[in-house]
C-alpha cells in the first residue's frame, strides 16, 4: 500500500513525519524518500513565503521614507532595523535563502510594497512618483533623521543586543 503524500501534507506535516518513520522502520526507503521530498519542499516554501512577507514590509517602510523624507523619524528607523534583523535571522536560520533567492522575489515584494504606498497616497489624496529601490537602500543604508533627538545613537540591532 502506498501513501498519497500530496494529500497527507494538506492535513498535517506531523502525520507525514510519522508515515515516513513507518516506512523507514519497514525498510521501505524508496517510499520514505517520497514523503521526505514532499515534506522538505513544503517546509522550504513556508520559509520562502515568510521571507517574502518580511521583505514587502521592509520595502514599504523604505519606500515611504524615500518618498516622504519627513517620515524618517526614530520610530521609523527602529521599524526598519527590526525588519532587517528579522530577515537576517530568518536567512541565517534557513541558509538556502541566499541572495539569489532574495533577488528572485525582489520584484514581487517591491510590487506589494508599492501597493501599500499607493493605498496611502489615495487615502491622503496625494500624488507622488514611486521610486525604485536598490539593495543597499533596503538592507544596509543608514538613514539620517529629520529631527534626531539630542544625544541620539542609532539603535543597535537586536542581535547585537543579545550578544552584549
Amino acid at each position: 500500500m502506498k501513501t498519497d503524500w500530496e494529500d497527507l501534507i494538506t492535513v498535517s506535516d506531523f502525520l507525514v513525519m510519522l508515515e515516513i518513520k513507518k516506512y523507514l522502520d519497514a525498510g521501505n526507503y524508496a517510499e520514505a524518500k517520497k514523503g521526505m521530498d514532499i515534506l522538505v519542499d513544503f517546509e522550504i516554501k513556508t520559509e520562502q513565503y515568510d521571507l517574502l512577507a518580511m521583505l514587502e514590509q521592509l520595502m514599504y517602510e523604505v519606500l515611504e521614507a524615500k518618498i516622504f523624507p519627513q517620515k524618517r523619524t526614530v520610530k521609523w528607523w527602529i521599524r526598519v532595523r527590526d525588519w532587517r534583523d528579522k530577515i537576517e535571522i530568518h536567512r541565517s536560520d534557513n541558509p538556502y535563502l541566499e541572495d539569489d533567492f532574495v533577488q528572485s522575489i525582489w520584484d514581487e515584494a517591491y510590487q506589494r510594497a508599492v501597493e501599500y504606498v499607493e493605498g496611502g497616497l489615495r487615502f491622503f489624496k496625494r500624488t507622488a512618483v514611486i521610486p525604485n529601490l536598490e539593495w543597499e537602500e533596503v538592507f544596509t543604508k543608514e538613514y539620517k533623521f529629520r529631527y534626531p533627538p539630542k544625544n541620539f545613537n542609532h539603535p543597535k540591532s537586536t542581535r547585537d543586543h543579545v550578544k552584549s
Binding site: 501534507i9 498535517s12 506535516d13 516554501k45 513565503y49 496611502g120 487615502f123
Partner: protein, 110 residues
C-alpha cells in the same frame, strides 16, 4: 503544518473582516493602519494558498460564516458600536480598495 496553515488562514481572514467591518461601522475613523492591515491580511492569505492549494475558495467559503461572527464581535468590541451586518461580500473582502473612500475624518451628525 497544514492544520497550522488552516488556523493561520482563519486568523488572517478574521483580521481582514474585522477591519472591513470597523470601516463600515465607523468610516470616519478609518486610518492608514486599518487599510494596511487589510492589505497585509490579503497578502498573507494569498501566500498561504500558494504553498497550500487546498486552502482555496472552497475552504474559505466553509469557514466564512464562522469567521465573520468572530470578526463582527471583535469589531463591535473595538468600536463600541453595534453592527447590523449579516455577512460580508467576497468582493468587499478580497477585491475592494478600501483606501479610496475617505470621508475626511468627520463623524456624521445623527
Amino acid at each position: 503544518m497544514s492544520k497550522a496553515n488552516q488556523r493561520a488562514t482563519e486568523s488572517h481572514l478574521e483580521i481582514l473582516m474585522m477591519h472591513i467591518i470597523k470601516i463600515l461601522i465607523q468610516p470616519y475613523k478609518k486610518t492608514m493602519s486599518w487599510i494596511n492591515s487589510i492589505r497585509n491580511a490579503r497578502n498573507r492569505i494569498i501566500d498561504i494558498q500558494q504553498k497550500n492549494p487546498s486552502l482555496n475558495k472552497n475552504f474559505l467559503s466553509k469557514i466564512w460564516d464562522m469567521v465573520f461572527k468572530k470578526a463582527k464581535k471583535r469589531a463591535e468590541e473595538e468600536t463600541g458600536e453595534k453592527c447590523d451586518l449579516e455577512t460580508l461580500d467576497w468582493k468587499d473582502v478580497f477585491d475592494k480598495n478600501w483606501d479610496e473612500e475617505n470621508p475626511d475624518g468627520e463623524k456624521p451628525k445623527k
